[in-house]
Amino acid sequence: MEGGLVLEVGRDPSREGKGMNCRDIKRYSSAYLDGELSPAQRDAFFAHLQECSGCCDLVGEASYREAAFAVALKHRMAAPSAIRYNVLSALSREAARPVAIPIWRRAALRPAATMAAVLALAGTGWRTFTSSYEPLAPMAETQAQPNRPKLAAASKPAPRIAMRASVSPVRPEPRYSQPAPPPATVHRAAGPAAKPAIQPPVQPAPSPAVMPHEDPIGVVTYISSPDDVLNGRFLARRDGRGLWADAPSDLRLRTHLQSADETVVTITLRDGTVVKANQRTEWVIQRSPTKEDPAWGIRLVRGELWVRSPGVVKVESAGVVAEADPGEFSVRSLDGDDATVLVASGAVKFHNLLGSSSVAAGQAGVTQAGEAPGDAFSVDDPKSQMDWAYTPAPAYKPLE
């Protein structure tokens, strides 16, 4: 009762030398359960409880209820690793950004500004922030799982047959007989420094996945799925909103994407990078290439992604980064605790703060969260291991 509570404020029964009454118990029970009563108040509180069974029940009930609240609210919740990455990247970009100086002061300050910039670059410890896309030390994961079995170096290279079993495709079935969709047509402007032209294969139509005020980073070009599963759509979530996306539709950065059962989603990014997500895959395209870091940054939460890139792509999963420049490869993390990279062409650097390994075409690499990437080992016919990405599948037919 709030009115009663206001009237009681300022009155301290223990200081008045009187015992507490039932109303006091009701008022002080919250502070008592939070351990915030003074010794004198606690004595008065207990003295009343010894005499009043009704208040005993009330406090006992409140104690049980509050313990339940605390248990419900205090469940373990790990922050997404993207937070540290994004913060450090943002701070790194800030550090690299020139300070804005009013135009009328620029001429006067030029020599001083140059000297200050040189000193700042030479003297400050931006060792970490400047390597902005380095994977973050999986400290929490390491501490949380001290007994996680380590991948022994002696266990690699793994038997080839085991590779097939342990990295079996998420979506091998059903097979489809219909022809594959036309490949994405990508035109790139000539010259190494030229900005790649955005030429999506299909003119994107506005869709619910379009978020205002930001440039699209690419287009969902193709979704394959049997008609009876989620109507072939996939889920895009951003800013707390969940939206079904169709093909074609624009994509924005940091949209949380999630493919449904038996649904393969194909995305063409603006520089021609093609990303395919196997069924039951969650991923986020976190970064687009910039002058400072010409790499796409993709976070794979779980599932499997296949990437073919003409430029640099970094796929982060389970505390490790697979970096290709350029290449055709897949990264798989079924539970978010381990990651497997399989390379069809080019070479992929598989690294985190604990170590790195180079995975060449025809090889695979495995790592577990909190551990250094293991050595690469050979795989027979890597494309057959990623057949879901190469197998033609029927296109999704939109609802009428």
Binding site: E2, A62, H75, M77, A79, A90, T128, G240, G242, Q258
Partner: protein, 191 residues
Amino acid sequence: MTPTPDEELVADCLAGNNVAFEELMARYEDSLFRLAYYWTGNRDDAQDLCQDCFIHLYHVLPKYDRQYRFAVWMYKVCTNNCINWLKRHRRRPPAMSLSSLLGEEVEIPDTLPLPEQTLLASEDRKAVMDAVNALPPAYRMPIILKYLEDFSYKEIAQMLNISVKNVEIRLHRAKGMLQKTLRSGIGRAKA
């Protein structure tokens, strides 16, 4: 080995050692994310808010007031950020429901739970979380700081710039509101 005290890490960070800031982030990212999650009610906003908090924290680190324990000072900065976030987003349209977009009921396959569903394993937990989210902001923050982080009334008072008595009253009322909401929810469920 005893971990380096937060205050020492702050001093290292102010001396130009950014690894120290990473260490601070590693220590507090889970709890700050949890705070943001209960404040915003969804993971995407919580991630944004948590990132904003850390970036802001980095900028205001030179103003660290040593009369407070670092965690208390940090939460003071972050709760201010949370309150500002709420002001900025107050006019944002409510989250769209998928069914309203499609005009039909749709279901995500059971095999792939959404992150929120993974996190909220039981219905009870969800009911409590919904009840906390339904609290007015002035009551929500003390509850989060008390139940999630076990801060004392005095520390919560310092963070929110209110008196200890006020914290006590807000918590008392907030608990009453939670109880009422949960009771009516159970009543509805039974009916």
